[in-house]
């Protein structure tokens, strides 16, 4: 298993110089969560009928996504999408979105 050394080191280095590249955007689950933005808006701030997911706690997002997937919560398209993600992936993207919202 390879460590993600350069990018994480980059955060430390950059913060020492006070510039701070946006590497928080490559945090766990970030690239998975970015896909959500296509329908739910950048940072999860929806501009249409889809619910805003920004500002929701990680646990709520994770529970809701799993409920869609397992058919416990009705949906139009979300069940079809969440069926493509396992628990670990859902937890990772929910954690990222939840932490962004704080």
């Amino acid at each position: 298993m390879k460590l993600r050394i350069p990018i994480v080191a980059g955060v430390l280095l950059a913060s020492a110089f006070g510039i701070g590249p946006a590497t928080a955007e490559m945090a766990p689950g970030a690239v998975l969560a970015n896909t959500c933005y296509s329908c739910h808006g950048t940072e999860g701030k929806s501009l249409g009928a889809m619910p805003t997911i920004h500002g929701k706690p990680a646990e709520y997002l994770s529970t809701t996504l799993k409920a869609f997937r397992d058919g416990q919560r009705p949906s139009t398209v979300m069940q079809r999408i969440t069926k493509g993600f396992n628990d670990a992936e859902i937890d990772a993207l929910a954690a990222y979105l939840g932490q962004k919202s704080k």
Binding site: K2, M26, A88
Partner: protein, 426 residues
């Protein structure tokens, strides 16, 4: 239960490894800080890639090359053709990208030289890059069908690149008398936006129903079947009974020649005359692909499907419609999700890392009527070097969906458009 993706897992591990590693990674950081990425094309793929590169690492010097100062999207252009939205609704500028510190150059890229790591522009400017992302969309195979040349598009619009062509088709439909015949002929596979022709038929039918109810639509399709066929046909039967005649490859649907002057399409066994004709030619990757040795014999661009790096030209990535990313469809949504994966991979590679294992989503909404939406969705993983559908995920709107469901999907179609276009262009 499958394990977490390598990408996510590595990120989790990376945080704990950070303190140990600080002293070791200087060269990679210096390299990343000065890295230059040139993005060609300001559409769903290119504009997303440019923005997300900046999101991932704002020290990357990003230049976007796009000839137009405004980008008009093909997605939702059927709402303009059907008279539901003005063209301004689907027109986007680049101020949002410039505000993020992206250099936007309005010129046409004519060549990517992978060996020299340079992009040549039509006005003579040369841009150097460490990595290049090419997202040129499609071009047409002019003349592949007899008579279907570039010279006829002012009479027989394709309207498959949005802008003046979209407005021309709208104008022709408005000028058509009630009782007229509209012919649409989609291309062979693969082509941009597989459900697009079905949606176009639907929204023109919706316009006819409300404004020219005696009119007819004939579809001449060279294929056996088309995307969301069952859902579209059920919708046409229910909302526009008797208006749409669909002919496929087995029903003399293949167009052999376009007679623009006579407003006629010639098939194997006859001729079909229309008042308005929308002939959509067969397609290939945008011109820069051929000009830069990025395309293969198919006319499309082979890529590694993980970082979307060209298998023909190192250091050059191809995303969106132009790339070979099957089983993903050539959609705006696909292009945008590929762009995010590609941008993350490039940020990683410039930082001396290997790109993580990607995961993709595509959802294509189509309007059968303003309050009647349908969709197809799919999640894609990456296995044995290839993009694969995640088993059990995705699929179509259920065929027994009730009116409330269909209305919700129509609202979501619009919500998708507004969110994704703002995510991309700001």
């Amino acid at each position: 239960m499958k394990k977490i993706s390598r990408r996510g897992f590595n990120r989790l591990l990376g945080a704990s490894g950070a303190a140990v590693a600080t002293g070791l990674a200087m060269p990679a950081i210096v390299n990343a800080a000065s890295a230059r990425v040139v993005v060609i094309g300001g559409g769903f793929g290119g504009a997303t890639a440019a923005r997300y590169l900046k999101r991932f690492d704002k020290t990357i010097n990003v230049t976007l090359v796009e000839p137009s100062t405004k980008f008009v999207t093909c997605p939702f252009s059927n709402t303009v053709i059907g008279g539901l939205k003005p063209i301004s609704y689907i027109t986007h500028g680049f101020d949002g990208l410039e505000a993020m510190g992206i250099n936007v150059v309005h010129d046409l890229a004519v060549n990517v030289d992978a060996a020299k790591k340079q992009v040549k522009l039509a006005q003579g400017q040369v841009l150097s890059f460490d990595r290049c992302i090419v997202s040129p969309g499609i071009d047409f195979k002019w003349g592949a069908v007899k008579g279907a040349t570039q010279e006829i598009i002012n009479d027989i619009p394709h309207a498959w690149k949005a802008g003046p062509q979209t407005l021309l088709l709208r104008k022709q439909l408005e000028a058509m008398p009630d009782g007229g015949v509209f012919i649409i002929s989609p291309p062979v596979n693969p082509f941009r936006c597989p459900p697009g022709p079905g949606e176009r038929v639907s929204l023109v039918a919706n316009y006819f129903r409300t404004h020219k109810p005696k009119s007819k639509i004939i579809v001449l399709d060279p294929k056996k079947k088309f995307s969301k066929q069952g859902l579209f046909k059920a919708g046409w039967e229910r909302l526009y009974p008797g208006m749409v005649e669909y002919r496929n490859v087995d029903d003399d649907g293949v167009v052999r020649e376009v007679l623009a002057g006579k407003k006629t399409l010639v098939t194997d066994f006859g001729e079909v005359k229309g008042d308005v004709i929308n002939f959509i030619p067969p397609q290939k990757a945008g011109a820069i692909a051929d000009q830069s040795g990025l395309s293969d014999g198919t006319g499309w661009c082979p890529v590694d499907q993980q970082a979307f790096e060209s298998t023909l030209q190192k250091g050059v990535h191809v995303i969106g419609d132009a790339s070979i990313a099957a089983p993903m469809p050539k959609s705006g949504f696909s292009a945008s999700t590929q762009a995010k994966v590609c941008a993350a991979a490039i940020a990683e590679m410039l930082g001396g890392e290997k790109p993580g294992t990607p995961k993709f989503v595509n959802t294509c909404y189509s309007l059968v009527a303003p309050d009647y939406g349908i969709s197809v969705a799919m999640v894609y993983g990456f296995e044995n070097g290839k993009i694969v559908k995640v088993k059990g995920s995705g699929g179509l709107t259920p065929s027994d969906a009730n009116d409330y469901h269909l209305k919700q999907e129509a609202l979501y179609a619009d919500g998708w458009y507004r969110s994704i276009s703002t995510d991309i262009w700001g």
